[in-house]
């Protein structure tokens, strides 16, 4: 198998960008079709690797490697394992559906799709690269277009939100960069590897001493924690969600946040299992704030997008809880949750975008009875809501269930007096709060008497149905048959668990 399939996944959007550059501005349809084709290629190839990844062998597959800067050991190395593959698939689904969700955009769409595709190339890059240098490079490629996309095409307080988001993410990436450089230098020292390399596999073989692990893991945690977003570093995200245009919100909440979780696992736990053990209690405490506080704040929002923005804060708390559990169930669940949440939240934003585009408002109190005018949108929203509140049969339930069991079976004590299980129980309480805010929104927006004010709204149809149908199908497919996904994830997580188990217990931050 010599075809560089991973490069193709990353480069398809880049080629899309180049093609769109050549298309005249006024050929809107052609631009959109080009974007759709480019992202479809990535999607098809992602499905292909999802199906052909050899599960009996495991490990890193579809490897490509081209030397780049020998002196610093920088190689263009790509490869996927069971952990990154689902995220590649997630990215390709979200961007493909995102293109269709932007079908009715008309302002400067040439530039819009150029930046959108550039962004997604960066995201693909982060998930497929096995080289820490390229990891950071792609990471920055993913962040910068976001500023422009929100600043130019956004809505509510877009300049503020774009600036805030970018500053927050840059601060985060500064922390991550230091962690990366420190790791690079430490591993390259003569008493360790003896040569400089950015190769993630090789860096993982180094045994970092405990003081360094504590230091470096903390940097990675903060750096990528901004992106997750971990409380209290989260306030950029609801503002960003609200301001961003539909497809960008989808990518932002659906995929970009997952870079954070992936970064903590790949560059944090994978390198520094002892550091992870040391900081896990901190993550556990903060993520409970994410879950409960995020959900409570979501309950009293007036703007539809803010509700979903805070629900993301809440749901990403579950990812952190899974990570903090440091066991198979927890981390498998965390990765599964990243996938599930990505799909679910993309669906939410696609639907809200659909409503906003037609109604020009997202104020919950103004709506009511929309199910009369928009039965399909209402159905989609209810399904997304049910996924959000963890209904069995939809993908999110499986992930959350694994995280719950994984964290519940831990016998540790945090802060000297809080059993880890108590934190787990608080997180499980989140399902009640989630149900409350989701069903309140569903009721206030979609149920109740028909309002004539909204009679001009048309239901989703044709192209608009593409993202809705695809995303719902994915939620149901992996909700009813989760094994192909969880088995794959576990293959990727196994080496990580082996390292955690080998790591000595070093107390913990509290």
């Amino acid at each position: 198998m010599n075809f560089p399939v991973l490069s193709a996944i990353v480069l398809a959007p880049v080629i899309g960008v180049l093609a769109i550059l050549l298309i005249p501005e006024k050929e809107e349809l052609l631009i959109k079709i080009t974007a759709a084709v480019a992202t479809f290629i990535s999607l098809a190839l992602s499905i292909f690797i999802f199906l052909t990844y050899d599960r009996s062998v495991g490990g890193v597959q579809f490897v490509e490697s081209i030397p780049w800067v020998d002196r610093f050991g920088i190689n263009y190395t790509l490869g996927v394992d069971g952990m990154s593959l689902p995220l590649v698939l997630l990215t390709s689904i979200v961007i493909f559906t995102g293109v269709f969700a932007s079908w009715d955009m008309h302002t400067r769409i040439k530039e819009f799709f150029i930046f959108l595709l550039a962004l997604v190339a960066g995201v693909f890059g982060v998930f497929v690269t096995r080289d820490m240098f390229f990891f950071y490079l792609f990471f920055e490629v993913a962040v910068i277009p976001m500023y422009i996309l929100i600043g130019v095409w956004g809505s509510t307080r877009k300049e503020y939100a774009a600036m805030k988001l970018t500053l927050y993410l840059l601060v985060g990436s500064a922390f991550a960069l230091i962690g990366i450089i420190a790791t690079f230098l430490y591993a390259g020292a003569p008493q360790h590897l003896g040569y400089l390399t950015f190769d993630i596999e090789k860096l993982a073989t180094v045994h970092y001493d405990i003081a360094f692990q504590k230091f470096a893991f903390f940097l990675m945690l903060i750096g990528f924690g901004f992106l997750v977003p971990m409380w209290p570093l989260h306030t950029w995200s609801p503002d960003g969600h609200v301001a961003a245009p539909t497809a960008v919100s989808m990518l932002h909440a659906g995929v970009l946040m997952k870079l954070g979780g992936y970064g903590i696992i790949r560059l944090g736990i994978f390198f520094f299992p002892e550091g992870a053990k040391y900081w896990a209690p901190l993550i556990a405490v903060l993520c409970i704030v994410n879950v409960v506080y995020g959900a409570m704040v979501a309950m009293v929002q007036k703007d539809l997008k803010f509700v979903i923005g805070y629900s993301s804060v809440s749901h990403m708390g579950y990812v952190l809880l899974g990570i903090a559990s440091l066991n198979s169930m927890g981390i498998d669940g965390a990765v599964a949750q990243m996938f599930a949440h990505g799909i679910m939240t993309a669906l939410f934003f696609a639907l809200v975008g659909n409503i906003y585009h037609k109604a020009h408002t997202r104020e919950i109190a103004r709506f009511g009875g929309l199910a009369h005018q928009m039965p399909r949108v209402a159905t989609g929203f209810v399904i997304a809501g049910l996924a959000s509140l963890g209904l069995p049969g939809l993908n999110n339930f499986v992930a959350e269930f694994l995280i719950f069991v994984g964290s519940f079976t831990i016998d540790k004590v945090v802060l000297g007096f809080i059993p880890f299980r108590a934190l787990s129980i608080l997180a499980i309480l989140g399902i009640v709060i989630t149900a409350t805010y989701v069903l309140r929104v569903v009721q206030f927006v979609f149920f109740g008497p028909r309002k004539e004010e909204w009679d001009h709204l048309t239901d989703a149809k044709g192209i608009e149905m593409v993202p809705i149908v695809i995303l719902i199908s994915v939620l149901i497919l992996f909700g009813l048959f989760p094994a192909p996904m969880t088995d794959l994830i576990n293959i990727g997580v196994e080496p990580l668990i082996a390292k955690i188990q080998a790591a000595q217990a070093i107390g913990g931050v509290f």
Binding site: A182, V297, V398
Partner: protein, 622 residues
Amino acid sequence: MIELAWLIPVLPALGFVIIALATKRFKLLSALVAIAAMATSLVISLGIFFEVLQMGITMENPVEYSVRWMSVPGIEINAGILIDPLTAVMLLVVCIVALLVEIYSMGYMEGDPGFSRFYSYLSLFASSMLGLVVANNYFQMFFFWELVGLCSYLLIGFYFGRKSAADANKKAFITNRVADFGFMLGIFFLFYQFGTFNFGELAEAFHGYENIAFLTMAAILVFIGPIGKSAQFPLHVWLPDAMEGPTPVSALIHAATMVAAGVYLLARQFVLFHAAPVSLLTIAYVGGFTSIFAATIAVVQDDIKRILAFSTLSQLGYMVMAVGVGSITAGMFHLTTHAFFKALLFLGAGSAIHAVHSNSIWKMGALVKKMKVTTWTFVIGALALAGIPPFAGFWSKDEILLATKEAGFTGLYIIGSIVAFLTAFYMFRLIFVAFFGEDRTEHEPHESPLCMTVPLIILAVFSIFIGFWGAPFVEHGFASLVYFEHPHHVTPDYMLMFTSTLLAIAGIVLAWLVYGKKVISAEKIKNRFQPIHNILYNKYYIDEIYQWIFDNIVLTIASMFKWHDRNVVDGTAHGISDSIRAAGARLRFIHTGSLQNYALVIFIAIVLIVLWMGMPVLGGIQ
């Protein structure tokens, strides 16, 4: 047949998919798809039932098989089938009632624009309910437990354009979520300790397990699930409001099957509660309290469906109490008989509502003249519920009273007897007001079509005869099928039968004196005891208390968090950025106001600070 058991939940699920994707526009076809799926499931269930009898499958040696659904290290989740007499009986109850309700709905829902949607939901419900019944492990039970909750949500809110319906379905879901939170914790504690979800493996693990306090905690947490689903006090508030759904739904989901799932769960894993006596005591008293609490409310309600709803609460309390005092035989037997006569009563009420276009019993009256089938089948249902021999409810209710008495719970026995009296009273209050007496109807009522009356007649036949299956003088009856550890054959207690019958008759006579013959004035009693009437009429103000807690405590906390987020968390961030901006203002040559420069300053500052702070540990750099 047993190897085909997996088809029982799968067929209605297929029905759901077909209706949702293909036949939505063809109403009659949708109904036929649902009914065909249900009928096939019923045939398989019947086959399994007779196979269980024939092969001598008992509670001790169930047939079980499963496939892997999902597993990661540390946890394995299976989709399984567990067939024993308990399953077989429950499958029959669900399939028969569901099939009859689906046939009935062809008439009741005729002309409704959501006709196909209705049948798709009903099919999904039947599938989930049957999946729950055949489950061999807690995970699967929980999975379908939530799905039946979803269907209940969808069907209560079927008329989503009505605010009351939208309020009610939200309330039902959230109340059940609170309960499921407890249920889930219970399952997790069991899994944490014993490492499995499987009922059989857990039962073995409990055997000889010493830590009773732990089991008690787990058992009570698991019981919180049934408190929600079977609407026991204090989480009963959703069920009366659930009557916002179409009446056939009330019959199927909110009377006969789903709300009984809680009782079924208690019976399914009775060994857990048996091993933790305190939990059993809790169950008994919660059930007993609910039964009398709800019965007192039912006495003063005006809405025919609400009266039946409170009656359902009360009867569910009966069943829970029976399990609590140790007799799953009595609990499950009452579940079975109740499913038939309560479905009958609801469908009859639906037929009446269909005719007079009102739910209030005061807008009905003298229906007997126009609606003979509806009236007389309703009376049969009421007699069964009131516990008049030889109707079904008499036998099952007596078994429960006997169980409480035999187990030495005199208090509960007395409560149960009072409830029997109240039940007879409120049911015949309803009957004398709505079906006899003077005609207060505003429309001209006429009998419902055949597809509605035939199910009524079939259910009436069941309501008359099914009780004999568990009558104390019948050998190889219900008690020798469904039991815990070993069959418990009761000797008929004629004194008890006599007392309870007398109480029921007294209730009927009192209702007749007040509402039939009117020798006692209801108005005067009401005025005399106005405060008590108000409390009962307003359901002890429990809904208001919950609403107050939500509005004033939960939402206040949420608003505080929101304020904190906007002002403290964001405020700090703004403070930092403002101070950087201020520093920039002094260094005017940097102050360009562009993002890149700020970013650069922040970026370099952080890199320097962290490197400086991290110096001591950067041992690797030399």
